[in-house]
Every structure is written in C-alpha cells, then in structure tokens.
C-alpha cells in the first residue's frame, strides 16, 4: 500500500491518493505542469511537505536512501557513471540476462562503453537497472519516450510483469494505449494543480 497524503511543494498543489499492490496510475499533463517534479518529490529527491507512506511506514522513519531503494524514480533520460555498461549492474542478484532478452537487448551490450549505446538502448537498460533490486514502487517518467513500436510493446510486457510481481507503478505517459492500459486511475496536472480521476470519474 502506497499512500500519499497532502504532498505538495512550490511546484504543485496538495495531492492525496493511495494505491494497492500491483496497481498502476497514469500521470498526464502538458510539459512543465509539474509531473516530473511530483515524481521527484515522491522519491524525496526534492523537498516537499505532506506525508508519504509505504505499507504503513512513513518515509521520515527511514533514511532517504532506504526509501529510494523501495520507491524508485526512473527519469526520462538516463545517466551513467561507469565507463562500461555492465558495471552498473549486479549480475549475481538478478535475472538480468533474461530481462535483457525480453527487451531485445543482446548480452554483448554489457561490455560496451556507455557512449556507444543508442538512446533507446539506454532507456531500456536504465529501466532494468532501476528494477534490479526489485523496488516496491516504480516512478516511471515517460519510460517509452525513446523507443520504437516493437520495443514499446516489449517494454509494456515488462511493466506488466512488474505489476504482476506486486510493484506499484506511477507512470507519466502521453500514449493513448498506455493511458487506457494503466490509467484506471489517473492524475492530470495543469499548471501545478492535480486532478485525480478513477475510471473517468473525478474523485477529488
């Protein structure tokens, strides 16, 4: 259970909502309306007022880095710090190769220097990097923005399987298909003000 109570900062007005295990939420709105800043505030990367709880535990009860291991923000464009791709992954811990196959990424990419990756490869790999320690909440900022049709379909399957494992996913998206698929509940930002709708009915 992921509960947001009156979360706000100087960019967006108070937001309250709660999501259960395996539930998803779509975040819509024009660019600059506060979507990304909302996700950043949830991951505690930007200061905010209000409260966020995961499984009944307030985030202030744990160090911020523990919180971010559970509530993971994945930005639209990824950043890398080691020279080689593979160094960003813990290969013993995860089903990395299986996942890479599912996203149509050849294993040899792990040996490559990061700068040789295409934007699309980076985006898919950064998603895998973000899920390798199985966070309970995923905050995805336009996770398919750099992908073509085929890769988008594979990424959506991956998102599906994360939901099935019980992850709670908040997803910024402009794609009508994704909005239909994951947007049973949606949050629409308009110049910092958020409107929550559930199955097209406004709830707050």
């Amino acid at each position: 259970m992921f509960e947001i109570i009156d979360l706000q900062n100087e960019i967006f007005r108070p937001v309250s909502l709660s999501l259960k295990k395996g539930q998803s939420l779509i975040i819509k709105g024009a660019s600059g309306s506060g979507k990304t800043r909302f996700l950043r505030a949830l991951a505690d990367l930007d200061p905010s007022k209000g409260n966020v709880l995961l499984d009944g535990v307030e985030r202030s009860m744990m160090p911020a880095f523990e919180w971010r291991k559970k509530v993971r923000f994945v930005p639209a464009s990824s950043h890398w710090w080691h020279e080689r791709v593979g160094l960003h992954f813990d290969r013993n811990k995860t089903d990395l190769l299986k996942w890479m196959e599912a996203l149509d990424l050849p294993e040899k990419l792990l040996q490559w220097p990061v700068e040789d990756l295409s934007t699309g490869e980076k985006q898919r790999l950064s998603f895998l990097r973000a899920i390798q320690d199985q966070p309970k909440v995923l905050l995805l900022d336009e996770p398919t923005s750099a992908l073509d049709g085929q890769s988008i379909a594979r990424m959506e399957l991956m998102i599906e399987s994360e939901l099935n494992r019980g992850a709670i996913i908040l997803l910024v998206s402009h794609s009508p298909k994704q909005i239909e698929k994951y947007g049973a509940i949606s949050l629409t930002f308009k110049s910092g003000k958020a409107r929550l709708t559930s199955d097209e009915k406004e709830i707050s």
Partner: protein, 264 residues
C-alpha cells in the same frame, strides 16, 4: 647577522625594470600597461604598509597585537577563498566555511610549530608567529579554494548523474565519492608537486630570505623543511575540511542534492 641593507636609490633603480616592462606593453600594443601600473602600485602600498605594521607590532610587548593581526590575516585569506569560487553558497555560509576551516587549520598548525617545535621566547614573538601563520594560511587557502571550486563546479555539471545515483539508493557521500576524490586531489596536488620541485629550480622564498639575512644554509634548510611539513599537513587538513563541508552544505539530511544553494 649582517646583510646589505637596500637604499631608496636601489629600489628606484629596480623599478626601472617595471618601466621597461610597461614600455614593451605599449610598443607591442598588449594593453597591459594600465593593469601593470595599478598592480605595481598596489604591491608597493601593501608591502610598505605591512613593513610598517610589522615594525609597530614587533615593538609592542604583550600578545594582543599579534593575535589581533593574526585575525585580520585570517579574515582576508577567508575572503580570498570566496573570491576564487565560480559558484558560491548563498548567504554567510560561503564565507563562513572557508574562514572557519582556515582558522581551524591555521591555528592548529601554527600552534603546533610555535608551541612544540620553535618555542620562542616570549611564546607570542610576532617575528616567528606572524610569518609562519602567513605561510600556512597562504598555502592552505590555495588548497581549500581549489578543492571547494573543483567540487562545486563538478557537482553543478554532474547534477543529473549524482541524482541518478541517489535515486538508485546511494547515500549522499557515496553518490558524491568520485567528485569528492577529484576535489581533494585538485586541492592537494600543488603542494605535493611543489615539494618535488623545491630546491632544484628555485629556493623557496623563506629559505632565500634567511640565507640573504646571513643564516647558515643548513639552518635555513631546517626551517624550510619544517615549514613544508606544516604547509603540506595544513593543506591536507584544510582541503579535506573544506571539501567535506562543501559536500555537506550542497546536500541535506534527506540525502538530496541542493544545487540551488549555489549562485554564480
């Protein structure tokens, strides 16, 4: 001690070299003559003033004049650190961090040298305390300024990478590790390099001065070595404190990066 005292005539003859320099600048159209003139004048005024100030302080009995002057040196060195930053922390913290670090390091190192090594009589003897403090402050200041500058510039440039590491669950010092290392190196390299070059290319200023003043070269060497150790130790301590302090002030207790606390 015997040495040849310089007359005003000697000094004005030496000043001719500056006029040659200025003449060249005009002849070649370098446009440096104005800056050259202003900075020469500054040097002249500052050094003459310090000559008289030191003469006055040396003539006093009691530690307060020495201590007072030490604080003035500290305040100026602290400002110099601030002046060398491309990005500064907002508010008094910018000045406070550099100055407090300098005070901590300058007083520890000078106290150590005066209290345990030289042990002059009286303990506050300004002719030992002030030059030693000056050399330590001057060098430590460079290390702190370079370290802080390197860290704040690299954090500013790598904001997105650092935040990505924080998002993936790294505590703040782990996310900043590479940047902190780079900043510490930048702060400490000048003094480490200057230890390797000293004595071969040029004699360090203090040693030169002592030798001209008639001190035995071996004694002058001993002083210089002690000063080098003090400076190297002080620079290391100061750079670590300045860089870690900057890292702390650019993050917060929730392990967020707070780049907005910097201004250009």
């Amino acid at each position: 001690m015997d040495y040849v005292s310089l007359s005003l005539f000697d000094l004005s003859m030496a000043a001719l070299l500056i006029f040659i320099n200025g003449g060249l600048s005009i002849a070649l159209g370098l446009g440096l003559e104005r800056t050259l003139f202003i900075n020469t004048a500054r040097m002249l005024i500052q050094l003459s003033a310090i000559g008289f100030v030191l003469k006055f302080i040396f003539a006093q009995t009691g530690p307060w004049w020495t201590i007072g002057w030490a604080f003035i040196m500290l305040a100026v060195a602290g400002y110099e650190i601030l002046a060398r930053q491309s990005y500064r922390l907002k508010g008094m913290k910018a000045y406070g961090l550099g100055t407090v670090t300098l005070m901590f390091v300058g007083f520890i190192c000078t106290g150590f040298a005066i209290g345990f090594l030289i042990q002059p009589d009286p303990w506050y003897a300004p002719r030992y305390v002030l030059p030693i403090l000056g050399m330590i402050l001057g060098n430590t200041m460079t290390g702190i300024a370079l370290g802080m500058e390197t860290l704040s510039v690299s954090i500013k440039q790598s904001q997105a990478v650092i935040e990505e590491r924080l998002s993936l669950g790294a505590p703040r010092f782990q996310a900043l590790k590479a940047h902190i290392k780079q900043a510490l190196k930048a702060g400490m390299m000048p003094i480490i390099n200057s230890m390797a070059a000293s004595g071969i290319v040029s004699l360090p200023g203090m040693m030169t001065g002592q030798i001209i003043a008639g001190v035995d070269p071996i004694d002058a060497t001993k002083y210089q070595v002690m000063i080098m150790f003090l400076i190297a130790g002080g620079t290391a301590l100061g750079t670590i404190a300045g860089v870690m302090g900057t890292a702390l002030l650019l993050t917060d207790e929730r392990h967020r990066l707070r780049v907005e606390r910097l201004k250009q």
